[in-house]
């Protein structure tokens, strides 16, 4: 009896796998299909309708992207330079502000925290248009500095909110202990609080780096056509019908996003996460 019941329940489970597998397969197709399409284009030499797959494979487009004189190499270096400068600028603003918001009595604290959210919470296209006009008058348009300023303003919410949470998660007593054995306020901060907050600060740096790497609209209005960056290269290559260059650029943008996101999960501990935005 019991064996018969077991096999019948097992058979019922098997039947349930049919719709499950169909739906999961459909989801997988729609998520990985476009990605596979991109990967195929990066190694395609010849591919036209109605062939389901490329006719010739090769790496000639990679050679063109990484040729030292190519526009792509310049875009890659510019993008990385801008992203690194944006991280430096954001963190040098966010570390003092985050410390103050976590530890000191700051008037209108909630309003200040919300203020950093504004650049993310409003449609920002017209803002960039107006910044571009403003920057044009002071000579910042089409410069690396101009793009870094725009990216920093946009990424500041991650820098400040996560830095604030990271400092709030550091035990105050450790700092007080350092002070009581004679460390100055600055030394206690440098030797005790800052190292303990470091994983959280790393996570905020990663968010800012990725925001900067992927940012298109601001780079388009403030940077183009003088400062070439990866998203702009991707756009022009795609618009010009060069799917190989566009897909390789897309891959260059996508790989750091995925790698860093996996890293963030290790840096952002639950005690910091629970304090974000408080």
């Amino acid at each position: 009896m019991s064996i018969a019941a077991d096999t019948s329940s097992a058979r019922r489970l098997d039947l349930w796998w049919l719709p499950r597998a169909a739906i999961l397969g459909l989801i997988a197709f729609f998520i990985f299909g476009p990605l596979a399409n991109m990967l195929l284009w990066t190694v395609t030499e010849r591919w036209y309708f109605p062939h389901a797959l490329p006719l010739d494979y090769g790496f000639s487009s990679w050679a063109r992207v990484f040729a030292p004189r190519g526009n792509a190499m310049e875009s890659l270096l510019n993008s990385i330079l801008v992203a690194l400068l944006t991280v430096v600028a954001s963190l040098s603003l966010a570390i003092p502000a985050g410390y103050a918001l976590a530890r000191l009595r700051v008037p209108a604290r909630a309003a200040i925290l919300l203020a950093f959210l504004i650049p993310q919470a409003f449609p920002n296209l017209t803002v960039y248009v107006n910044i571009a006009r403003l920057f044009y008058e002071v000579g910042l348009n089409g410069t690396i500095a101009g793009v870094v300023i725009v990216h920093t303003t946009h990424g500041l919410v991650y820098a400040i909110w996560i830095a604030t949470a990271a400092f709030a998660a550091v035990d105050t007593e450790l700092e007080e202990a350092a002070r009581s054995i004679g460390a100055s306020a600055l030394a206690a901060f440098r030797d005790v609080t800052l190292p303990l907050a470091m994983p959280g600060l790393m996570a905020s740096a990663i968010f800012v780096f990725l925001e900067s790497l992927d940012e298109f609209t601001g780079s388009y209005f403030v940077g183009a056509p003088d400062v070439n960056m990866l998203p702009l290269l991707l756009y022009t290559a795609g618009a010009g019908g060069n799917y190989q260059i566009a897909s390789i650029t897309a891959l260059l943008l996508l790989v750091p996003s995925i790698v860093f996101m996996l890293l963030v999960e290790r840096f952002l501990k639950a005690d910091v996460l629970a304090r974000v935005g408080r």
Partner: protein, 273 residues
């Protein structure tokens, strides 16, 4: 120095950055929308409505439809992650659904453009597998392409929020409903969704705002008419240097977003009262 003064002093540089490089240009944009020649007037708005009424309606509809679909998918994913009975299928879905979240909008635009085109991989696969003939292949690079791109990119984000909120719903209620014979769909609609409604709405409002300001997707997938306001603004600036109409279109898009934010705020206020 008083600690509160020191605190304010340390936050001041960061605050100045946001005020100077976001709030001031935002104000300039709203004021600029009303400047015609050298006096104030509504000229830019009349011109905007004359030229772009179709695109304004198109934008609002596209973003609203995308939000709706994102909401349905997010609830379905969150619901299965919470109520799914097969641990392997749940784990597979959990691993699967997050991928698009990590992919930048500009990359989403490019890869979906190659995927959804008439000669893209999707049609090629369907033709190769004999499901359709080459003549039946359809390009999705119009309003459908934009909706698909938005849904593709935004669903994981909202699903993540919704699944997190559903996970913290009291299991006891769900078990009780199950024991009384309620189906999983009924539990999802009558127990889980009402309890995570606030999180769902917050996620959808955030998505709505994000979609309203994305420029790369409409430029890459559907730059012909009708298109989204962001593409029109870029066109007004690049082709005519017409800041007046661009600012007016920006103000209109801000007004649409404000409507959504207002509905959301009214909702949360009512819940608290």
């Amino acid at each position: 120095m008083k600690p509160s003064t020191l605190g304010l002093l340390l936050t001041l540089p960061a605050l100045a950055m946001v005020v100077l490089f976001f709030l001031v240009p935002l104000a300039a944009s709203v004021v600029g929308a009303f400047v015609v020649g050298d006096h104030f007037g509504l000229g830019n708005f009349t011109k905007s409505f004359e030229l772009y009424t179709k695109d304004i309606v198109f934008t609002a509809l596209i973003v609203a439809l995308s939000s709706l679909i994102v909401g349905v998918f997010a609830v379905a994913i969150g619901g299965y992650l919470t109520l799914g009975e097969n641990p392997r299928a749940v784990a597979l879905l959990r691993w699967l659904y997050r991928w698009p979240m990590f992919i930048p909008f500009i990359v989403v635009g490019q890869i979906l453009r190659t995927f959804l085109a008439k000669n893209g991989l999707m049609n090629n696969m369907l033709v190769a597998s004999g499901l359709i003939t080459p003549l039946e292949a359809v390009s999705f690079l119009d309003w459908r392409g934009i909706v698909i791109a938005f849904v593709w990119k935004q669903t994981p984000f909202v699903a993540l929020l919704v699944a997190g909120a559903m996970a913290s719903v009291d299991r006891g209620t769900i078990e009780a409903a199950r024991n009384l014979g309620a189906s999983r769909l009924r539990i999802l609609i009558e127990i889980l969704v009402p309890q995570v409604a606030t999180t769902l709405v917050v996620g959808l409002v955030l998505s709505f705002v994000t979609m309203m300001s994305v420029l790369s997707v409409p430029l890459m997938i559907n730059a012909q008419s009708p298109t989204m306001l962001t593409a029109d603004i870029a066109f007004r600036i690049n082709a005519y240097g017409d800041y007046g109409v661009a600012n007016a279109l920006g103000a209109i898009s801000l007004a649409i977003t404000s409507c959504v934010a207002w509905i959301y705020l009214r909702q949360t206020m009512r819940e608290r009262a």
